[in-house]
């Protein structure tokens, strides 16, 4: 087995190349049981964590105020805020059940004051104005209200439903496109891989909060991030599938596991490069993007890693498994070659 890492080569025509992977020959499919074990461990850990969270906080993942409902007032103080003092001010106003926490760096001097969901829509705005007047009477002008979110009980559920539908429809849309461009099994394998990625990413949110990372909540923007990672994961999978389709046309006699391995290896340098570069941009978002985009970029940081992994370790082995299952059932040995597409 020949495997090379980063190298600078001088090839026949005197060209110096910087390359990460050149003629790698890894038997990916031979490792499918390891992959299965890895995926299972993370999926199951995520599911268990979600179950645990459900029992303790009432939802599988901490929800942002837009889904959960309730009131959140973000305040920036002129000096480093003292949570105890703020609590006194809030208590003095007679506000019950307020949740006060600092966010971001201490240097940001920001505090989020949250109130639980109000079942009575008319009482919604009262909590918000009570918080503001409590602060005003204790701090006069030493603070600015950065943002206010007041979400009623009905809106959150409407959004939840809408987000679930959007995810579902986008998967169906992609399945149909792949069915049209390749074959049904390719679409199914790609969608299963995406589902795997979504499950593990949402599980990561659940686990992160279980281990005490604050501020990672499932909000509307995080849903956008999850849909993006589905797009990216799909992208990676299609690149590999495209190569499989091309190789199937060129060498019809090659055993499928071999051919799939070869296709993954041929596209490996592209996969690593692209994922690495997108990872860089997302990482810069995570570092410089500020508090508002924290959850969004966290989802993408996890999602890009897992999406790259799944196109190699989940989607491609599924194609081979399907083929072997067909062979066992005595069906034609014909490969699930793509029906359409040029090149």
């Amino acid at each position: 087995m020949e495997r090379r890492g980063l190298r600078a080569t001088t090839s026949t025509k005197g060209r110096a190349e910087v390359e990460f992977f050149h003629s790698v020959n890894v038997d990916w499919l031979g490792k499918k049981w390891y992959f299965l074990a890895f995926s299972l461990i993370f999926s199951v850990a995520g599911v268990i964590s979600m179950g645990w969270q459900w029992a303790h906080i009432g939802s599988p993942v901490p929800l942002g105020v837009d889904f959960r409902g309730g009131t959140e007032v973000t305040v920036q103080f002129a000096e480093v805020p003292n949570v105890n003092r703020i609590r006194q001010a809030i208590d003095a106003q007679g506000i019950k059940g307020a949740d006060i926490s600092t966010i971001g760096n201490p240097a940001d001097r920001e505090v989020v004051i949250g109130l639980p969901e109000q079942m009575n829509e008319k009482a919604l705005d009262v909590g918000r104005s009570d918080i503001e007047s409590a602060l005003r009477s204790h701090y006069t002008t030493n603070f600015i209200v950065r943002s206010v979110d007041v979400v009623g009980p009905t809106v959150g559920h409407q959004l939840e439903k809408q987000a679930a539908l959007a995810t579902f429809y986008s998967l169906i849309g992609m399945l149909i496109y792949l069915w049209f461009r390749f074959q049904l099994i390719y679409g199914v394998a790609a969608v299963v891989a995406c589902f795997h990625d979504t499950l593990i990413t949402v599980g990561a949110f659940s686990l992160a909060s279980l281990f005490g990372f604050n501020g990672l909540e499932l909000s509307l923007t995080v849903i956008a991030a999850i849909l993006t990672l589905i797009g990216y994961s799909m992208n990676d999978t299609i690149v590999v599938f495209d190569r499989i389709r091309e190789n199937l046309r060129l060498s019809r006699r090659e055993a499928l596991p071999n051919l799939v391995n070869r296709s993954i290896n041929q596209t490996l340098s592209r996969t690593v490069l692209t994922s690495g570069l997108t990872f860089l941009t997302v990482l810069s978002l995570f570092i410089f993007g500020g508090q508002v985009l924290k959850g969004f970029s966290f989802a993408l940081v996890v999602g890009i890693l897992i999406g790259t992994y799944s196109s190699i370790a989940v989607a491609s082995p599924m194609l081979v498994a399907y083929q072997e299952w067909r062979a066992k059932r005595g069906r034609a040995m014909a490969l699930p070659a793509a029906k359409r597409g040029r090149s």
Binding site: E121, V151, I223, I238, R270, S284, F288, L293, S343
Partner: protein, 539 residues
């Protein structure tokens, strides 16, 4: 350079110029400040970037249904009396069902008469009529009519809020039905981050009031005060007059009015422009609610010959002498211009919302948070782009320049699109831009890796480039279409910020198909033309 290639380069430069225009428009100057200002005029910032309020209001349509059935009850009582039909009472038996009316205690011998009256065309269009136990009749509003009424109520509420917001000069407000829930309204007010202020705007009292006139007109406030012996009673007030009224006195006019209005704001049910049958003068015809009508009747009957003043926004608009008792409708006459009549009837209507509103979601972003978000988002985008640019140059050498140019053009086209389409740039939108960069890089990497493969397989420069593009194209097309499909679905089903994200992602991917494939190809061709025979491309 071949002629064909020249045309291609010309096309690319034309595209570049067009989209640069999209970003900057025709700038008033070339200093940094002028350019920044022209960009701001073209590309609109979302609420999360410039600060503002985002509200979702629930219209309590039951109010409108209640008002409608109240009206019908009154009408039924009158009609039954007129037709000499016996009944004990007409009521709404269940307070939780505002759409159900019951006529109780009718006489069995008159049942056919009652049936004819209730099931006649007067009510049958709106209600399903059935007879029940104990000589009672039930009228239930038809679901289709109720739905129609709900819709009209929401449309009216939107018009009312729009009027109020417009009157206060908020720039680029958005007031529209909100698709996710029934009878909900979305209100977005850029630049206003104080929720209390927002509430005063929406619940602003552009109220119409009718007050009793104590005395007037006076040429000045002081004159009015003097006439009252310099001591105005607590239940009276002095208000100025505007428009025609003020003009007639050859200057300002002031009236002393009773402080408490006879009828006001929500007492008005509607107001329409009309024409007086006798004089041909334009009028505003108004109707009052039943309760206010009774009140108005009592007052006007007892005060024939005295004057009333129509007051709005703290000024007297019209003074009229009471000719006779008025119950629930009347006309406001005056030498109004057509515009004034429409205006008055419109403003009168903004005096009353058709139903009460509940706030079910309110989000505000302060302008400081918005400014921080822009800075952080733009920093992240710039750092991301620089990292990618640097890496491409190191990894692909001269061809890296090619990829970097394509990426740059991609960003220009994307921002130009935003400028042309008046799309709004939101924080998730900036994230969409960053993800577009990622996809753009992917296309370049796909092509370049493929070209390297072809070179390794021993192909000559031109053939390797040709084959590299041909093979990569299928993959690029598939990956872009799938992502655009998911972005489009996101756009269709998403709201607000998510929509902004989907917009930039879709635009960016479309632009990328042009830059990463077409532009990059042209640059390669230009490069290939300059190579000596046998020389290889730098990749």
């Amino acid at each position: 350079m071949k002629k064909n290639l020249k045309n291609k380069v010309a096309l690319i430069i034309a595209v570049l110029v067009i989209f640069l225009y999209g970003i900057f428009g025709a700038p008033s100057g070339v200093t940094g400040k002028d350019l920044l200002q022209s960009v701001r005029n073209r590309i609109h910032l979302g609420l999360d970037l410039q600060g503002g309020a985002h509200l979702i209001l629930q219209v309590q349509v039951a109010d409108a249904v209640n008002a409608e059935t109240d009206n019908t009850i009154q009408d039924i009582e009158q009609q039954m009396k007129k037709a000499n039909l016996t009944f004990s009472q007409v009521i709404k038996p269940d307070p939780n069902k505002p759409d159900t009316i019951q006529v109780q205690g009718t006489a069995p011998v008159q049942s056919s008469g009652v049936d004819t009256l209730l099931d006649g065309s007067r009510y049958a269009d709106e209600y399903d009529v059935s007879s029940g136990l104990n000589n009672s009749w039930t009228l239930t509003m038809k679901p289709i009519y109720e739905r129609d009424l709900d819709q009209r109520t929401v449309v009216e509420a939107i018009a009312t809020i729009t009027d109020r917001v417009d009157a206060l000069g908020v720039t680029e407000p958005q007031i529209a039905p909100y698709g996710l829930g029934a009878n909900q309204i979305l209100v977005e007010l850029p630049g206003i981050s104080d929720l209390d202020r927002v509430k005063t705007i929406i619940q602003s009292t552009a109220r119409l009031e009718i007050h009793a006139v104590v005395s007037g007109p006076f040429p000045s406030q002081q004159a009015a005060l003097t006439s009252a012996g310099n001591a105005l009673p607590a239940d009276e007030e002095i208000l100025p007059a505007t428009g025609e009224l003020a003009g007639t006195g050859g200057g300002d006019a002031y009236y002393i009015l009773q402080r408490i209005a006879i009828v006001a704001g929500s007492d008005f049910r509607s107001a329409e422009p009309g024409v007086n049958q006798n004089t041909g003068q334009r009028t505003v015809n108004f109707t009052l609610t039943d309760e206010a009508g009774d009140k108005f009747w009592d007052y006007t009957s007892a005060n024939v010959g005295k004057s009333m003043a129509v007051v709005m926004g703290g000024t007297v608009r019209e003074v009229a002498t009471i000719q006779s008792g008025i119950r629930d409708s009347g006309e406001i006459t005056g030498s109004f211009s057509p515009d004034e009549v429409t205006m008055l009837s419109k403003l009168l209507r903004t005096g009353a919302l058709p139903a009460s509103l509940n706030y079910i979601e309110a989000t505000t972003v302060g302008s400081t948070l918005g400014a921080d978000s822009i800075r952080e988002g733009v920093t992240a985008a710039i750092v991301g782009v620089l990292l990618v640019w640097g890496f491409m140059l190191v990894y692909y050498k001269s061809s890296g320049i090619n990829a970097d140019l394509a990426l740059f053009l991609n960003l220009v086209i994307l921002l130009g699109f935003m400028g042309f389409s008046q799309a709004t740039l939101t924080l998730p939108g900036i994230a969409g831009v960053i993800l577009t960069i990622g996809m753009g890089v992917d296309s370049n990497v796909l092509i370049f890796e493929r070209i390297r493969e072809e070179i390794r397989a021993g192909k000559a420069a031109a053939a390797a480039v040709d084959q590299g593009f041909a093979h990569a194209w299928t993959t690029i097309l598939d990956t872009h279409v799938t992502t655009i499909v998911s972005a489009a679905i996101l756009f269709l089903f998403g709201t607000g910020p998510v929509k902004g994200f989907a917009t930039t992602l879709t635009f960016g991917l479309a632009a990328n198909l042009f830059t990463a494939v077409y532009v990059s190809r042209v640059i390669f061709e230009a490069h290939l033309n300059r190579l000596r025979p046998g020389e290889m491309v730098s990749i």
